[in-house]
Symmetry: C2
Subunit: 213 residues, 2 copies
C-alpha cells in the first residue's frame, strides 16, 4: 500500500494511526498541502480527485476520505478491530468520530482559515472567535458523549475510530489556540493515546516530511 | 423506534431515507431547529446531547450523528443493504457520503449561515460566494467520484449511503442558490432517487412538521 499524505493534515494523521494500529507497512509519499501540490499535474496524474489523504490499495484509483479508508482497513484487515463488537457501541464510536469529522475539522482546516483571513478579511481575533465557537462547540459535544461511552479509551477500553479522530483533532486544536483543558475526559484519553506506540508512530513530528520548528 | 428531527434538517432527511429504504416504521417527534428547540429543557431531558437527528432504539440514550445511525441501521437490519457488498465499493460509497457530510453540509448549515450573516457581517453576495466556493467545490468532487463509481445510482445500480447523502445535499444546494446543473451525473442520479418511493416518503415536504410556502 502507498499513502499520499501530508505530515500536518489531520485526515492523513487519522489514516496513519489506523495503519499503525493494524501493524501494516506502507510506502509514504508526501504531498505538500501548503504549497498546493495536491492540485498539481504530477499528483493529479496519480490521483485525479486531487484529495488527501489517498491510499493506493490495488490497481484501481486510490481510496479517498479518511473515514472511508479506515472502515475499509477494518473490513479487509479485521485484527485488531477499530470498532467495538456490539452494534450500539459501534454507533457510539462512529458518532464521536463523526462529530469531529463533520463538525470540528471542516471548520478549522487550512482552506477555511485561509478563506476567513484573506477573502472574508477576518482579523486574528475573528479567527479565534470562529474556532472557539465551532471547534470548541464540537469538542464540548465530544466531552458529553464520552460521559456515556468512555473507558480507558473513547468507547470502552481499546482504541477505536473515535480515538483515531480525537487525537489529530486535539493536536489541531492546540495548534490553533483552542483551549482543550476545559474537557477533562477528552484531555485524559488524548494523553493515554499519545503514550500508545501506534499513536506515537503516526504523530506528525515523526513523519519524513515534518518540518522542525 | 422514535426519530427526533426537523423537516428541513439535511441530517434528519438522510436518516428518514434510510428508514424508508429499510421499510421500517417509526414515531416522529419534530424539534424546531429554527426556534432552537433542540437546546430547550424539554428536549434536553430526552436527549442530553441536544443534537438532531436522534434515534431512540432501546432504553439507552438516543443514537446521534446521521451517518452513525445509518451504519447502525444497516448492521442491525441488513436488508436491503445500504452499502455495496465488496469492500472497495463500500469504500467508494462511504467516500461520496463523507465528501458531502464532511465538506459540503458543515459549511452550509443553518448555524454557519447565521454566523456568517450576523457575527461576520457577510452580505448576501458574500454568503453566496462562500457557498459557491465550499458547497460547489464539494459537489464538483462528488461529480468526479461518480465518474468512476456510478451506475443507475451513485455506486452501482442500487441506492446506498452515498445516495442517502446526495439527495438532501442537492435539496439544500438548490434552496441556497448553488447551481447543480453543472454536475450532470449528480443531477441525473438525484432525479432518479427523487422518483423512488422511499426517497419520496422521506422528502421534507412530506413530513408532519413541514411548513408550506
Amino acid at each position: 500500500m502507498k499513502l499520499f499524505g501530508y505530515w500536518r493534515s489531520g485526515a492523513t494523521y487519522r489514516v496513519r494511526i489506523a495503519l499503525a494500529l493494524k501493524g501494516l507497512d506502507y510506502d509514504y509519499e508526501p504531498v505538500n498541502l501548503l504549497k498546493g501540490e495536491q492540485q498539481e499535474p504530477a499528483y493529479l496524474e496519480k490521483n485525479p480527485q486531487g484529495l488527501l489523504p489517498a491510499l493506493v490499495v490495488d490497481d484501481g484509483p486510490p481510496l479517498t476520505q479518511s473515514l472511508a479508508i479506515i472502515e475499509w482497513l477494518d473490513e479487509t484487515r479485521p485484527e485488531p478491530p477499530l470498532l467495538p463488537k456490539s452494534a450500539r457501541k459501534r454507533a457510539e464510536a462512529r458518532a464521536i468520530a463523526d462529530v469531529i469529522a463533520c463538525e470540528a475539522q471542516p471548520l478549522q482546516n487550512l482552506r477555511i482559515q485561509k478563506y476567513l483571513r484573506h477573502e472574508a478579511k477576518f482579523d486574528e481575533a475573528g479567527v479565534k472567535a470562529w474556532l472557539e465557537t465551532f471547534v470548541g462547540g464540537a469538542l464540548a459535544v465530544v466531552e458529553k458523549l464520552l460521559g456515556r461511552s468512555a473507558g480507558r479509551f473513547c468507547v470502552g477500553d481499546a482504541p477505536t475510530i473515535a480515538d483515531i479522530c480525537l487525537v489529530p483533532q486535539v493536536y489541531a486544536a492546540a495548534r490553533f489556540g483552542v483551549d482543550v483543558s476545559k474537557y477533562p475526559r477528552l484531555a485524559e484519553i488524548n494523553a493515554r493515546c499519545l503514550a500508545h506506540p501506534a499513536f506515537e508512530k503516526a504523530h506528525p513530528d515523526n513523519q519524513p516530511d515534518a518540518v522542525k520548528a
